[in-house]
Amino acid sequence: MTTLQTATAVETEKMSAAVAMNSALDLAMAKDDKVVLLGEDIADPIGGVFKVTKGLSTKYGKGRVRATPIAEQSIVGAAVGLALGGYRPVAEIMFCDFLTLASDQLVNHAAKLRYMSGGQSSVPLTVRTVVGNSRFGAQHAQSLEAWFMHTPGIKVVMASTPTEAKGLLTSCVFDDDPCLFIEHIHLEYTNKEEVPTGEVTIPLGTAAIKRPGSDVTVITYGPAVPWSLQAAETLAEEGISVEVIDLRTLVPLDLETVLESVGRTRRAVVAHEATQFCGPGAELAARITEELFGELEAPVTRVGATYAPIPFAKSLRAIPDADDLVDAVRRITGQ
């Protein structure tokens, strides 16, 4: 499977995910003047609170890069209108928790207009948003990707590396369907890597095997990828060979890659930072079991956030980490 397709795979630069996404937006805007950005604080000098749009209002003007009022419904609603008007809007919703304010527009309009219009409307919008963490408390820390997976008509994407953030975001911008692109505050600036300076696209719906292994498959995405790889490392030292699959897009879902792997390893754990109860892992566990029932050596196990709002105090850990995954893998491998 191709994990990366580069138009010009030559020049690279060390970039954080924030910088890589900035580059993706910059290239997209240069290539297609129908690409427009909107969101709170996205214009210069600040260039977005996470700096992903830095420099773009200066380069492309405030007509195409619009710092908006604090009004999430109208940010996404305006993106819907822009999309219907022939543009490719990229809207920034500062925190994933604030998607609750824009969910009418996302769910009832963006995701349904193509269908309800009998195919007349395309809604090629991208909503970028960020999952925070407990430094801000419970209203700035929720991973709501499951809500949008459960909503027919909208694609859901979460990257785990700078290069993939660039490639997946580019694909979202040029996709003809609405896309929700969820970033994570921890991945935004840490983990710099060499990223192609030219256009990168990664087809939506292709998972990547981030580490091959033979005993257990860990299926994960977004911020859980780094700690899943870390867990795999720990487990390798114990002689357990873990294959780590980064889904990269949740809708469309690359089930083929998942089933091929679990068909080999016969054991699977799904790991994510969203709440476990009724979360993305439930769908994956149910689906894997439906498809590979007779072949599984153990039930598909889930490692997700516990059933609680995200507490502010650090001593209270609601979101899982490498240790939890290590435990889960040990459990289903009978160690």
Binding site: G63, A71, G77, G81, P89, Y115, M116
Partner: protein, 341 residues
């Protein structure tokens, strides 16, 4: 609202061309007839759809149709029959969509709450109160970036002024001076709740002005007054003057839906509003003013009558969409859906 029956603006001012007057009359009559027919079918259980009558709003819809160009865009609501007829959506495609049939504008998949026809600039229709305003703002940004003088009109009810999306859309349009025409159809009811029961500030135009945009209140029973206000607004917007808000005072002449009880309406209020019924008043006025002859109006009525009859016969008779449509147009690529099943 004065109480004189047959009242249509007589004050001096620009006037629509005779062709426009005739088309306006055609829209009003067609809308009135199609509306009554839809209500009748719904009450008889033959039209199994939530249908939202537009009786009382015909004059504003007709005037709007006359001032918008096909390239101008319109965003409407569940109560959309007058809007879609006025914008030029073919009647047969409208009625087939009411019935959920394959020849409907949206292949029967949207239904009456979501009539849309890109060919004529009938861009979107929402069933969520107020949600059209931010969408219209976005279309306004698109039009502004296109820079070709397109106007975006959005219609909504008086009750929609209470909701958050209304506020956000208004503020955004004023901020960026977007080419958006906000059309508040004030029929004095939000479902079954009268205006006085949901706001302490019933002067919508006044409130709209406080966002920093031009705003006016207009007699929405009067097609000429409506046409004048609308064409002035459209001109101003087209020439870059920023958004305009027009509140049209009318009255809901029927129940909230095609089948809803309306016994609670104050009888005298309704009777007074009924004397302003747009189509018949316009007819009388056109004749009185010597603008269109009675025979010509008769011919328009007959044409409308048979068009409506034909459309309903067509709509009810056409087949429902084939089952393979179920997963079509969820995404641009149908294969993606099949992978998720």
């Amino acid at each position: 609202m004065t109480e004189t029956a047959h009242q249509v603006a007589t004050a001096a001012g620009t006037m629509p061309s005779v062709a426009d007057l005739e088309r306006m009359y055609w829209v009003m009559v067609t809308t009135t007839l199609a509306d009554s027919r839809a209500q009748q079918e719904a009450k008889a259980g033959k039209l199994q759809a939530a249908f939202y009558p537009v009786r009382g709003m015909e004059a504003v819809c007709a005037a709007l149709g006359a001032v918008l160009e096909p390239r101008d865009r319109l965003v409407s609501t569940y109560r959309n029959l007058g809007d879609v007829v006025a914008k030029g959506v073919p009647l047969k495609s409208i009625v087939a969509e009411l019935y959920g049939r394959v020849d409907g504008v949206s292949k029967g998949k949207g239904g009456p709450m979501h009539l849309q026809d890109d060919e004529v600039g009938m861009t979107a229709t929402t069933g969520v109160v107020g949600s059209g305003l931010p969408i219209a703002a976005g279309l306004g940004i698109a039009a502004q970036l296109d820079g070709d003088g397109k106007v975006v009109a959005v219609t909504f009810g008086d009750g929609a002024t209470s909701i958050g999306a209304y506020h956000e859309g208004m503020n955004m349009a004023a901020l960026w001076q977007l080419p958006v025409l906000f059309i508040c159809q004030n029929n004095r009811w939000a479902e079954h709740t009268p205006l006085a029961d949901y706001t302490a500030a019933p002067e919508f135009a006044q409130r709209a002005a406080s966002y920093g945009m031009t705003a006016r209140k207009v007699d929405g029973f009067d097609p000429i007054a409506s046409w004048r206000a609308l064409s002035e607004a459209v001109q101003a917007i087209r020439s870059g003057g920023g958004p305009v808000f027009l509140e049209f005072e009318t009255y809901r002449l029927t129940g909230h839906t095609g089948t809803a009880d309306y016994s609670y309406v104050p009888k005298d209020e309704l009777a007074r509003a009924m004397t302003r019924d747009p189509a018949p008043n316009f007819r009388t006025w056109l004749i009185d003013q010597g603008l269109v002859a009675a025979e010509r109006l008769d011919a328009i009525e007959q044409e409308a009558e048979s068009a409506v009859a034909e459309a309903f016969a067509f709509g009810a008779a056409r087949p429902q969409p084939d089952v393979d449509q179920l997963h079509e147009d969820v995404f641009a690529d149908k294969k993606l859906v099949l992978d998720l099943l």
